[in-house]
Amino acid sequence: MQTLREFTRKTKRGNILKIVREHYLRDDIGCGSELCRECFQNEVYQLTSQHANKSTLFKFPHYLVLDTNVVLDQIDVLEEDVLRNVVVLTTVLNEVKHRSSAIYKRFNEIVHDRTRNFYVFVNEHHKETYADREPDETANDRNDRAIRLATKWYDDHLQASQSSKEFERSGKAATRVVLLTDDAANRAKAEAEGILVTTAAEYVKSLEDFPLLMDKLSHKTFDSEKNGLPQYPPHLSMKELLEGLRQNKLLQGTFQASRENYLEGTVNVEKFEKGILIQGRESLNRAVDGDLVAVELLPEAEWSAPSEIVLEEKNVYADEVPSEERAKDENEMLNQVRAAALSAERTPTGRIVGIVRRKWRQYCGILQPSLIEDTNRHIFVPADRKIPRIRIETRQAAMLQNQRIIVTIDTWPRNSRYPHGHFVRSLGPLGDMATENEVILLEHDVPHCKFSDEVLSFLPKMPWTITDEDYSKRVDLRDLYICSVDPPGCTDIDDALHCRELPNGNLEVGVHIADVSHFIRPGKRTGHGGSGPGETTVYLVGKRIDMVPELLSSNLCSLVGGVERFAFSCVWEVDNEANVLSKRFHKSVIKSKRAMTYEEAQNIIDDATQQNEIAKSLRNLNRLAKILKKRRMDNGALVLASPEIRFQVDSETHEPLEVEVKQMRETNSMVEEFMLLANITVAEHIATEFSECAVLRRHPRPPPTNFDPLVKSARYQGFQVDINSGLELSHSLDKCVKADNPYFNTMIRILTTRCMMQAVYFISGSLQKEEFFHYGLAAPIYTHFTSPIRRYSDIMVHRLLAASIGADSTYAQLLDRKSNEELCHNLNYRHKMAQYAGRASVALNTHLFFRGKEEDEEGYVLFVRKNALQVLIPKYGLEGTLYLKSDKDGKDGVERVKSEIVFTFNEEDHTQRCGDVVFHSFDPVTVRLSLDSSNVQHEKLIFRLVKPYIKGFSVETTTEGTDSQAVSAAPPSKKTKKDKKKK
């Protein structure tokens, strides 16, 4: 079965240690081929004679062996379901893992897909294919040799099995093994050793059935540019970089490109608070936003100041040589900056000398229309302004016009103005709702592919029934008058409530939460794949990206009315003053009597004629909630506000019809109070039970300086905002009421929200008890228990709670501090991204709503800025900027009449004055809203002043007709671009 031979391997580490490790070589590792008659096969055959790769280079059946560079560079090609019957060597797998964990993850997804016929061959432990490192051989050379050795062995091994008379008689062509490598030296050696070998590019080109696969090839060089002159200074080698960093001659940091000016960016370095400024193309030296770079600080005499110029790169064409004009632009910019720098405050400035690690990812964007017909070379314009244009080759440009596409960067050679990349895939037509949503999800790293078959296979089989065993393990609460209260149209109901009078005069209140952890078992893959736990449901306008498959979210877990469902219950006994006398947790079976909307519940409470159990229950809950809320407020909990918009989406076209601002009813607050109580009760419990690894949520107290803008603008209105404690803040917010401006208090609260810190998940063992505090809720401890259908954190909390009461078994990872800490980190990241995605979706829908419309709306000045007014439109919950001066180059979309109108900003009291008109914070204004679509990828909503009327600046209301026409007649974006382009 096995021979154990001992091997030693020496590696150098730190202060040169000789490490001797055993390395066992085996003879029981199968080759995984269906053709083989020799191997001890302990796996299912992965390499079959079906799905043969049809190549014009190798016109016989063949398996492929991939070199590490092919996996690293051509992962997009591999991800296409084209190449099959691939032998994956562990040498390659280890190298990939070592070089890029992101690609390793993606490659593993392919390997795990059984339909792709990828077989992992453990060549490193196979006695015939192990390559011992020879003296003076580099690790790289050894790995190349190991790959060739394994390829050769594989080919010979298959030949042996196919050399029988029987096989010959069958008349089939023998299956061979082909090595794909982009390393010329390795290729030459392989050829010399009699191995069938070619490059990835050549091979892909030889696949006649898949001509478009060529688009996805990574391009290290473009033929046309091979001889081009260097346009950038060279990068230092890794060795020089490390040496420079060690000696503190260089500084390391993350590069952040400027959104406004493509020739500017900063590198965040610990030593400098504001980071190091980088200006000019040569200093930027091919760094892309997010890269980890090494910077050389310039002498102080050469320091500069950040420019205030908005500079967007003009369209260029792939064939165009760097024009003099562009160089002129760049020089001009630098000169301007230098001139400005003489007067302005100068900041540390540097230049980038090398890249420590690239953080290239996939980018969304559009293809720039090409001047020449029938060319394959194109320029890609990313949606993110911080990313440079990317040069790609594609054979389907005509089809990709007006589509949102994804492109990735492969390399950025010195002699190319732009990085080289390749087309990955198309998302769909520009402006299409589904496409735009996809863009939002991708740009915010939201996992959203379909649930894999593996995930779906863990779901219960339908029809799902509750067994006697289930009943015996759970408390039967089917008789209770439990009901749920949610927004209209809610299909993922994760909470329900009940309240009943006890014989002793006290009340029993229960919060019943969908028992999602019953269905989602630990250790099983549940999410959208590849992203690990920590996912969360993401709400876009008119679209929901579920965390769990729909069968669970909208059916089995959803606590719909009249159906038996599993719940995790938190039940309290309270007296009539809402004091908690006792509490208990248990898993239960419930049958909600009714799923109501907030409005329905409110109507039942208000309608005194209704005296049924549900009505009584709701009234008691409502009464208790009011007491709870008051108590919370007295403790210093804050009532904050944020302008929330909800769009009514047309169910067919998914386009927004009308916007409505969320309406708050008493019942909203009723449900909220009990959810808070449940969360706090559970948090206390799990923190006591698991002092190290309980998943909790805290909201840090903001530093006092955060409140400056709020305090200032409130003071001007004659109100003193006290920020010493939550309680004082809460009281002073309550006092901010103006009889003539009913919206004033809400605006003050919106401003307060802006001063807050982000609430975060953490584990109990990582902080001191005092730091558990939740500032916004004024609760000493808090967690998330009540929304397990939408949030992974709640599932973790359910598991911990279940383990603590013996309702479910524990498992090793549940109690592992490190893995829970990682999980919290991931949860925080996902939540933040989900939030941003939600906001982006609202913006997108706002734009769609205003497309082709102009509306005058009442609004308020939220605050006054140096050159603009921040305006809030309560009707839409919409906020935007009304610029008082047009930007330096008039880039604001709408050209304003240049006139003698001057706005004076008063820093003392934060006002803007123009003639008789003075703008203060919270002043009412009327603005005209319209959409600026001049840049297809960056549409924006334009705010223009209507009232108060300033001649020459405000929109002329009388000439509305012509004015709106002027805007709507603005030429479509594409034409605008062509107008700008240079011949």
Partner: protein, 246 residues
């Protein structure tokens, strides 16, 4: 479990190429020295240990019970980075006590009243599971010294991969890669555990299977030791015509 690497690849092989239940390669020899009453050399993978036994001889003082005295030391050259001193550190003292504890369970001490048995073990090369290999070597040395044992006392380590598959006989690389380690010293035939130690907590769900894995390892090592003893006796016997007499 946390750690940098998973101890078991998806192809079912461990970091050094073993399958989960395989022991490292074991080499052992009895009677490697002339001076002591008994001695043995044992290699388990790259962990190499020498053991010597002196006694039984008269115990100092007037004790009625038999005294089992162990000394554990580790050669300064046994690790990749030189050790400062061979013994006297906390670890050595701990191992010394553990050895005494386990060996006392195996030696038929009622046969040796007022006697002392001295057992010296020296780790020449450290590649994980030192305690277990030291104990196994001590067992062989005791047998070589002709000391009566209830049964072979052997030790083996076990761990758990991230995919919750138990692993036998942990190498040092696996230890430093973050695998939890469980050491069991047992009397395999009687199925009695004389000593058990864990480097960190195992989840209760897995503890039983991990212990069972270590026990299975003990049984396998016992068979190897037994074979070595037989081989040694045969060799000894033939040298003094013992085989013919037998």
């Amino acid at each position: 479990m946390s750690g940098k690497y998973d101890l078991l690849s998806e192809q079912g092989l461990r970091l050094d190429g073993r399958r989960p239940h395989e022991l490292r390669r074991i080499k052992c020899k009895l009677g490697v020295f002339e001076q002591p009453d008994g001695s043995a050399y044992m290699e388990q993978g790259n962990t190499k240990v020498l053991a010597a036994v002196y006694g039984p001889h008269q115990a100092k003082g007037n004790q009625t019970e038999s005294v089992i005295n162990c000394q554990y030391s580790q050669a300064t050259f046994s690790t990749a980075e030189r050790k400062n001193r061979p013994r006297g550190d906390r670890k050595s003292l701990e191992f010394k006590l553990y050895l005494q504890q386990a060996l006392s369970a195996a030696i038929k001490s009622e046969l040796y009243p007022r006697s002392q048995i001295d057992i010296y073990v020296e780790v020449l090369q450290d590649d994980g599971a030192n305690y277990a290999v030291a104990l196994n070597a001590a067992t062989l040395a005791l047998i070589d010294a002709g000391i009566c044992l209830n049964e072979f006392i052997v030790a083996c380590t076990a761990s758990l991969s991230k995919s919750n598959i138990p692993l036998t006989d942990i190498s040092q690389f696996e230890e430093v890669s973050g695998g939890p380690k469980l050491t069991v010293a047992a009397l395999p035939t009687a199925e009695k555990i004389a000593f058990l130690e864990m480097s960190e907590r195992f989840h209760i769900d897995h503890l039983e299977t991990v212990i069972e894995t270590a026990m299975a390892g003990c049984r396998e090592i016992r068979d190897i030791l037994e074979a070595a003893v037989k081989e040694h006796l045969l060799h000894m016997g033939s040298a003094s015509d013992f085989a013919k007499v037998g």
